[in-house]
């Protein structure tokens, strides 16, 4: 690790950070990304995709690349899972598994041969955005996971991202590749050990081969002073199934960009999300499902409970390209506001260029039904129990989509710790 570099306040207005560190992606990609960064500024709320999410606090944050540091033990969500731990953006071999099932290859980018890793990390130029460029320029690690054709991996692969220390900048690039008929279930957990104002910027580049199945449970539970930007680029081949469950329980500023490119026929794409927010949290879920070809199904269910002064943003976009007939695309976003200061901006969008499709989208935002609260109280429930029961029922629709019971148990546990709710 070279000298740690601190972004000078005077440079903060541009993204010409010129950070020092050991960066893993190949020099040509990095050079392009650095050029992109020097020529572009952080988006403002005048940019449509950033209309409701301000990046000022990241812009003004004096970030630095940190080395790994000691952290407290973290209990695994799924004890049987194969664990891969990253601390401050660096693979932690001592906390991670070293044996993997036959038919899969798992290598941290930092441990790969340069020649091998030089072929990784390219993101389609047209998909480049500022945060992806930051990641390309400054990724310090990540994991390459390859599952061979016809191999089903039984244990869950659990990747944990932990930050410790103040103003830490983390850029990780994971590359997940499932050959045809491969199957894999993953957990990706984001958490804070200690410190404030860490900024994690994580990209998953995912290839789901023909008839392959991939599930990711993405669990976000960082500190109230952490910033998190996550991007997924999903490339689905024919007959494949991709499912991602994005659960955001804590984190000061969270932006998820989920981009699913459905390139083959007869695919299924499931995007579920739940966010339970309070305090001054700001959580923004942007999703894109791009149906390039015919005969595919996509299902999207995002639900949020927003208390305190928290704000949530949902923007879900579904494209159905020309001649991509017989697409079924369903999208739904529901929000319950628990306080007068809580707010949400929800924008479902459909762009359809085919004429024989079944697409729907819906968005609801409201308070709990006070008549129902009264009804429950009239049966002897306290007001708090009545509200909790109703909110739990509302958000549980999303949790019920999660197949990994360890993940569901973890969610219930975290919610009971943070919000003092319990589920039946």
């Amino acid at each position: 690790m070279k000298e740690q570099a601190v972004i000078e306040q005077s440079f903060a207005h541009s993204i010409d950070w010129k950070l020092d560190g050991d960066f893993v992606l190949n020099e040509a990609l990095r050079a392009n990304a650095l050029t992109y960064l020097s020529e572009n500024a952080f988006p403002t709320t005048r940019t449509e995709a950033w209309k409701y999410t301000r990046v000022t606090k990241i812009k003004n944050n004096s970030l630095h690349i940190a080395s790994a540091a000691p952290i407290a033990e973290l209990a695994p969500i799924d004890a049987a899972a194969i664990s891969l731990v990253f601390v401050n953006g660096h693979f932690d071999a001592t906390r991670s598994a070293s044996d993997f099932p036959a038919g899969m290859k798992v290598i941290p980018l930092s441990q790969m041969d340069e020649a091998e890793r030089n072929v990784l990390g390219e993101i389609d130029a047209q998909k480049t955005d500022l945060f992806s460029a930051i990641n390309t320029a400054y990724a310090t690690d990540g994991v390459y996971i390859h599952v061979s054709a016809r191999v089903q991996i039984a244990p869950t692969i659990a990747i944990t991202h932990i930050t410790t220390g103040d103003h830490v900048l983390v850029n990780l690039r994971h590359i997940i590749h499932l050959e045809k008929f491969a199957e894999l279930n993953m957990i990706q957990q984001n958490t804070t050990d200690s410190g404030e104002n860490a900024f994690s910027n994580i990209i998953n580049q995912v290839y789901v081969g023909e008839n392959a199945r991939l599930t990711i449970d993405k669990l976000q539970n960082e500190s109230e002073h952490a910033f998190h930007h996550a991007t997924e680029f999903i490339n689905q081949q024919k007959d494949s199934v991709f499912t991602i469950n994005t659960i955001t329980l804590n984190g000061g500023w969270v932006r998820n960009n989920l981009n699913c490119f459905v390139n083959g026929v007869n695919c299924e794409t499931n995007l579920n999300g739940a966010y339970v927010l309070t305090g001054n949290q700001h959580v923004d879920n942007h999703t894109v499902v791009d149906h390039m070809v015919a005969h595919c199904n996509s299902n999207e269910l995002y639900k949020g409970v927003i208390d305190g002064k928290a704000t949530a943003v949902f923007n879900g976009k579904v494209f159905v390209r020309k001649d991509a007939q017989k697409i079924n695309a369903f999208q739904s976003n529901g929000n319950v506001l628990m306080s007068l200061d809580a707010s949400v901006n929800s924008k479902p969008e459909l762009e359809i260029y085919a004429d024989d499709v079944k697409c729907s989208h819906g968005s609801t935002t409201g308070q709990l039904d006070e008549e129902a609260v009264f009804y429950l109280r009239a049966r002897g429930l306290s007001e708090a129990s009545a509200r909790q029961l109703m909110v739990g029922a509302f958000i549980n629709d999303v949790f019920e989509k999660i197949e990994n019971e360890h993940v569901v148990a973890w969610i219930h546990d975290e919610i009971s710790k943070r919000f003092n709710w319990s589920f039946e």
């Binding site: 008549e371 129902a372 002897g380 429930l381």
Partner: protein, 250 residues
């Protein structure tokens, strides 16, 4: 059981109850009848603790305690039950789960141990049979997708589970066909003991063929203007409310 004295209540500045008096003793069934707008549902709402109503005068003593000082949930925990005129649908909240939570909160209030899962399920089985409520309905989301009759049976099922001291049935008969009416009434009758009491609010005399009241009261213009034995209900059915209105018009 309950003693209501000179109760005045208003909503949005409009006075609905104008000095209502009613005394119900343990073991009794009282019917309250009256034309639309007389204040029947307001009485039920005020007793259950609906916060939109302002109590401007009067007192309600329920089994020795001042009812009007208590929160809605504490009234329920003290043994007051309101069968809603329009039971609320609560998507996602299971009937069974919420009832168990309710029972345990009531038990905690009385400093009793929570009910065991086994005991609870046995009780569900017994009480749902009482109102011929399909066990599957009992475990579905509260009232969601229930027919009108099923919703009313679910109210009586909940009443059977909670075993209140005083049940107020607010127009439980309205909208029911004769079979559903018989089932609901039968449930109420089976739950009757010398230690509990019911106030049956209804617009129609028909229900009182099945739930025979000890007293019938006529509520008109925010007051009980006439009380009598069960025969009064028949008289009202025959003559309508016009003679009451004529007699007591302001």
């Amino acid at each position: 059981m309950i003693s209501i004295k000179n109760l005045h209540a208003s909503i949005d500045g409009k006075e609905i109850l104008k000095g209502l008096n009613l005394e119900v003793k343990a073991g009794e069934v009282h019917a309250i009848m009256g034309p639309n707008g007389a204040g029947k549902s307001t009485l039920a709402s005020v007793l259950a603790g609906r916060e939109e109503y302002e109590i401007t005068a009067g007192e309600v003593i329920f089994d020795g305690v001042d009812l009007l000082e208590m929160s809605t949930e504490d009234r329920a925990r003290e043994g007051l039950f309101l069968a809603f005129q329009y039971p609320i649908e609560i998507p996602g909240v299971s009937n069974i789960n919420f009832l168990r939570t309710a029972m345990n909160e009531i038990r905690a209030y009385k400093k009793e141990d929570p009910i065991s899962a086994k005991e609870f399920m046995a009780l569900v089985k017994e009480k749902s049979a009482l109102v011929e409520l399909d066990a599957k309905l009992a475990s579905r989301s509260v009232n969601e997708g229930f027919s009108g009759g099923e919703k009313k049976r679910n109210e009586i099922f909940q009443m059977a589970m909670l075993e209140p001291k005083l049940a107020i049935l607010d127009e439980t008969d309205s909208g029911l066909d004769i079979d559903a009416l018989r089932i609901v009434a039968n449930g109420v009758n089976k739950l009757k003991t010398p230690n509990n009491a019911s106030i049956v609010i209804t617009h129609y005399q028909r229900l009182l063929d099945y739930i025979v009241p000890d007293f019938v009261h006529v509520l008109y213009n925010g007051r009980i203007v006439k009380s009598g034995p069960k025969e009064l209900a028949l008289e009202l059915e025959e003559k309508g409310y016009d003679w009451i209105k004529a007699e007591f018009a302001e």
